[in-house]
């Protein structure tokens, strides 16, 4: 008995402080993987059935909608391409570090429940698809979280709304830098350390600042929803709503950024 208690305590300490146990966890999760597949099964045929039972008119409507959307996006993209090249020229002029473009990989959520009191999800890409610990995860609207454990065929993602997660962000309007800390609720992020006199407004968009080296710069994170100023306290109480659709997205994007990968491997990769 005492032996197992000590063993568990040693295990927990090592797992909490170091990352040596990632391999052990990956090996053990290989055993758990079939169970996760079993749990995931009921979803697949149901989705297939509902997909193949959509009436033709609805499909045509959707096609129409997607076509208009594509047209709009293409128009915006034209502008973006010229802006990007202009940006690159200007950056070359000012000798600033060039921002590498990021590659994306699409992964799908597995419907597996983890601990209900922390915000984590399981996605169906793992070591075999070159997912690494710390890789940022986005959905179509914004940042969702980062990979915390990888196993051979799937990986666990901690969402930015997890109470133990924080993202370095900046206000898109004026570059004010701060942190966005999870609260455990899918609808709310807490923004601590905003001084009472800071220039921040309800509706401001927070985007990743790229400080901290995990998340690439410039992806939307959240929008400010409320600011409460209490003059007796040093900081304002600010909360924001995540831009990503935390509990509704089925597909997520894994960002592969050469910069970050290099840092992960351990080479010098400090920008600027």
């Amino acid at each position: 008995m005492v032996f197992f208690v000590i063993l568990s305590i040693v295990l927990m300490t090592v797992d909490h402080r170091e990352n040596h146990l990632e391999k052990v966890r990956a090996a053990l999760s290989l055993v758990v993987y079939p169970l996760q597949l079993i749990v995931d099964i009921p979803r697949t045929p149901i989705q297939w059935a509902s997909d193949s039972l959509i009436p033709r008119s609805e499909l045509e409507n959707e096609l129409e909608r997607l076509r208009t959307q594509e047209l709009l996006l293409k128009a915006q993209l034209q502008k973006l391409i010229s802006l990007e090249s202009e940006n690159r020229r200007l950056r070359q002029l000012s000798q600033a570090a060039r921002r590498l473009s990021d590659e994306m990989m699409i992964a799908e959520l597995m419907s597996v429940d983890l601990d209900p009191f922390s915000r984590q999800i399981v996605i169906n890409k793992g070591i075999s698809d070159e997912v690494y610990v710390g890789q940022p995860v986005l959905d179509a609207d914004g940042v969702m979280g980062q990979v915390v454990h990888v196993s051979p065929f799937n990986s666990q993602v901690m969402l930015i709304t997890d109470p133990s997660h924080a993202v370095p962000v900046q206000v898109n309007r004026n570059g004010l830098r701060t942190l966005a800390v999870g609260t455990g609720s899918t609808e709310e992020l807490n923004i601590p350390y905003i001084p009472n006199n800071a220039d921040i407004m309800v509706g401001d968009l927070l985007e990743t600042s790229g400080l901290g080296g995990r998340f690439p710069t410039g992806y939307p994170v959240a929008r400010i929803t409320s600011i409460e100023i209490d003059l007796n306290e040093p900081y304002a109480r600010v909360s924001a709503r995540p831009a990503a659709r935390m509990d509704r997205s089925r597909e997520v994007l894994l960002v592969e950024s050469a910069d970050l990968r290099r840092q992960q491997v351990g080479d010098e990769g400090a920008p600027e």
Partner: protein, 165 residues
């Protein structure tokens, strides 16, 4: 329960299957509203087996199952292992008493045992800095108590049917 004192142990597969089923039930998706009310399936199955077969099921198995539970739920490695090893130990100490209780009283003991398991888990989580903030966390003990008669009757049926001893 005295049937198989001299027989060879058998039915390991049944025991393994019951734990696998408990793990599957633990990670099965539920609507977010009722998620905190999910009974602690794995600890309950462990309590049953260590009560019914105290000379086969013990602390080591509890620890191993806990490790898998940790991996499956993405918890700190060793957290559930510690809690379940202690749970198995306690059940082994108490098995002769709990065994002869009527079902209702048994459910109460299960409430106490699962609550103790939850206290251990919350303690570990507090130490690493993220304890669950909602009181709903403790609902798991209550729903486990309510589901205990079902688990007990089903597992006893299975044990008798397949002569696990």
């Amino acid at each position: 329960m005295k049937l198989g004192e001299n027989a060879k142990p058998q039915g390991s597969i049944i025991i393994a299957l019951s734990f696998i089923l408990a793990l599957v039930l633990t990670i099965m998706p539920l609507p977010e509203l009722i998620e905190p009310f999910r009974p602690a399936w794995v600890p309950m199955v462990l309590i049953y087996w260590s009560m019914a077969l105290p000379n086969r099921i013990g602390v080591a198995l509890g620890w191993l199952v806990g490790l898998f539970l940790d991996v499956a739920t993405g918890a700190l490695l060793g957290q559930n292992a510690l809690a379940l090893a202690l749970l198995a130990f306690l059940t082994l100490q108490l098995h002769q008493r709990i065994r002869v209780y009527p079902l209702g009283q048994q459910a109460l003991s299960v409430l106490m045992l699962i609550a103790l398991y939850q206290i251990l888990v919350v303690w570990v989580r507090g130490i690493i800095g993220h304890p669950p903030e909602s009181w709903l966390y403790w609902m798991q003990s209550l729903t486990s108590m309510l589901f205990w008669p079902v688990v007990f009757v089903v597992l006893r049926g299975v044990r008798r049917q397949y002569k696990v001893n």
